[in-house]
Symmetry: none
Subunit: 192 residues, 4 copies
DNA sequence: AATGAATGAGCTTTCATTCAT
DNA sequence: TATGAATGAAAGCTCATTCAT
């Protein structure tokens, strides 16, 4: 089995799913884009669903690792949150197709939402939740905000904005600037 | 034309789309739930897409009107923003199906996202943008945050949280409390 | 729903299954032969399997009824067995496609063999078994032959011969004569 | 060419065809069971059909030879027919998979039925036909039964019963006893 | 000869949409 | 207007067969 072929299929699927949406995307087209025959897809993935699930599972792992590595350089909760936001936007900029896919399709079905919140996605979000909780216990952040509310606010805000940014033609704002504004608001908002 | 039949179809579509997602939803099932024959659906709506579009267009109108009416009672930008958030969550609580549909399907296809940002949805978001801009011009809010960033932050945060809340079985937080925490963070974050 | 359409589909399926075999037969071709669109088939039958099962279930019923009616005219076990054989061959002559289908496809899969032996098919075979057992209790037939062996011998013999006869181009024997020969052998063979 | 590999493939095919039926059987699975790669199958057999045909042709040869050898020990037509039946059942008991395959798949397609009746299968059946004809010319058997009808009756009866016996879980009768009953009926039935 | 990954034609089934009644 | 049976295009998936190694 050819690992590069699997990888090519995964990348092609990201592109086609991002462009057409999961349901409108055709397996045949993914295969063609990957430069293989339709049937080959099924040697590497159980079915179309498995292709989407594999993207979620496998593409998120390096992102989380990279994000974790980036956060580990910082001691202070504030810096960790700022860095999380900055890194998220950097990721969006570098992988617009994957980002769009995660943003749009992750919501698509209750099934996915419920299955995956508990796994990789939760792990990602928890990076913010933990930083915030630590900030609270260090007396830096206000106590009347629940960490799980805060982490969802952060994610909701950056997710919404990056979706918009990716889809907008003009890209009149720089993601970096946007990230700073978001960090500013959210951190000013929770600082004691 | 039987307006009540159209309305029943719209309500049925909200339910079925919310439960099954737009693509998995069957027109036949929507018709059955509305108590009409399959073909009747096509007397009131051009096609399945039109059904979704009509939900976006028509169901949002009363929501926006209601939200506007609620906001008009308040002078201060801060109160307007707080009220917007509270009213949004109240709407989510009262129309969970519609809310879920807007949350999930509005992102579904680039097509919809691009077509509808400019219309009803934009109008809704702008209620926050305008309140924020007014707050800035009154010298209440910091200048280094762009209104369109702020309004998207607000929407992203409340949208993310209400999706989660609707889908979660436990509903361990009260939406009212969540709304207050969000308002607290975001307003503290932008106050001068 | 149009009962005649269902009937046409059933008849078409008998023809196509008999000609091509269940697995090689295409649903599209059955539909075309029935004069309907492919999808219409699925309004009347759950799937391709259901089409085959329905043939077994529904087409056998009138045959069994007719056979029973024919047998009921006769008192003597011998005559009942002779009549059974004669009527079976008459049926084969009148419904060669159905006969071939039953002969060939009924054996096809263990699944069918096991599922259907217990139902209609068993009922059919039992007509012979019962006549034979009655003959034994009346002291007409030898005791050292088990009724279930005898009934299977009868069926095996006539089934084998009718399959051959249906498939042979020449049809050099008349089925009526064949039937008489078989009756002669089997009844002479069991008479005390 | 590795004769043992060919043989292993043939044996594996018998098992898989018998279990799953020709059409549902997968070449890959046959190869796996034979301990070779999928592609290797095509070095020894032209295609899937050829695998089935080869079973018919090659596996029948030793059976026929053995049956012939068994029959040659007996002078009398009666004994030859009794022995044929007994040997057939012994073969069924020893090679249940092959027997089932012959019973079920030989009927499967008109194509096979027509192509193979003339060859090995016919040769097998003719052993009975010849014994019967000889019995007739010796004045032992009645003249009003055509040998080809008789041989088909014999085969139909034993084939039907052995299929049933192989598929039945309980095996409440012994094949040996069944064979005797069949011989009794058929010979009593044709004796002058 | 042997391998087993790759191929792609082919089939079943679904379902949005149409249309005769 | 209303119906719901009928349509048929469309797509996911399988698997016999091929072929580069």
């Amino acid at each position: 089995m050819d690992a590069s072929k699997r990888e090519r299929l995964l990348k092609a699927a990201i592109k086609v799913f991002a462009r057409d949406g999961f349901f409108k995307a055709k397996v045949e087209e993914i295969a063609k884009l990957a430069g293989v025959a339709t049937g080959t897809t099924y040697l590497y993935f159980k079915n179309k669903d498995d292709l989407l699930i594999s993207i979620f599972e496998e593409e998120m792992t390096p992102i989380i690792e990279k994000t974790k590595a980036g956060l580990s350089k910082h001691e202070s909760p504030e810096e960790r949150i700022t860095t999380f936001i900055a890194q998220h936007f950097a990721m969006v900029e570098q992988n617009p197709d994957l980002a769009l896919l995660l943003e749009v399709e992750l919501r698509q079905s209750n099934k996915f939402l419920h299955e995956y919140k508990g796994t990789k996605f939760k792990e990602y979000l928890d990076l913010v939740g933990e930083a915030f909780a630590e900030g609270q216990s260090k007396g830096l952040f206000r106590e009347d905000i629940h960490p799980s509310i805060f982490k969802q606010m952060v994610f909701g805000a950056i997710d919404q904005i990056s979706t918009n940014w990716t889809l907008s033609k003009t890209k009149k704002f720089k993601l970096k600037d946007i990230g700073q504004q978001i960090s500013t608001v959210l951190l000013s908002g929770v600082r004691k």
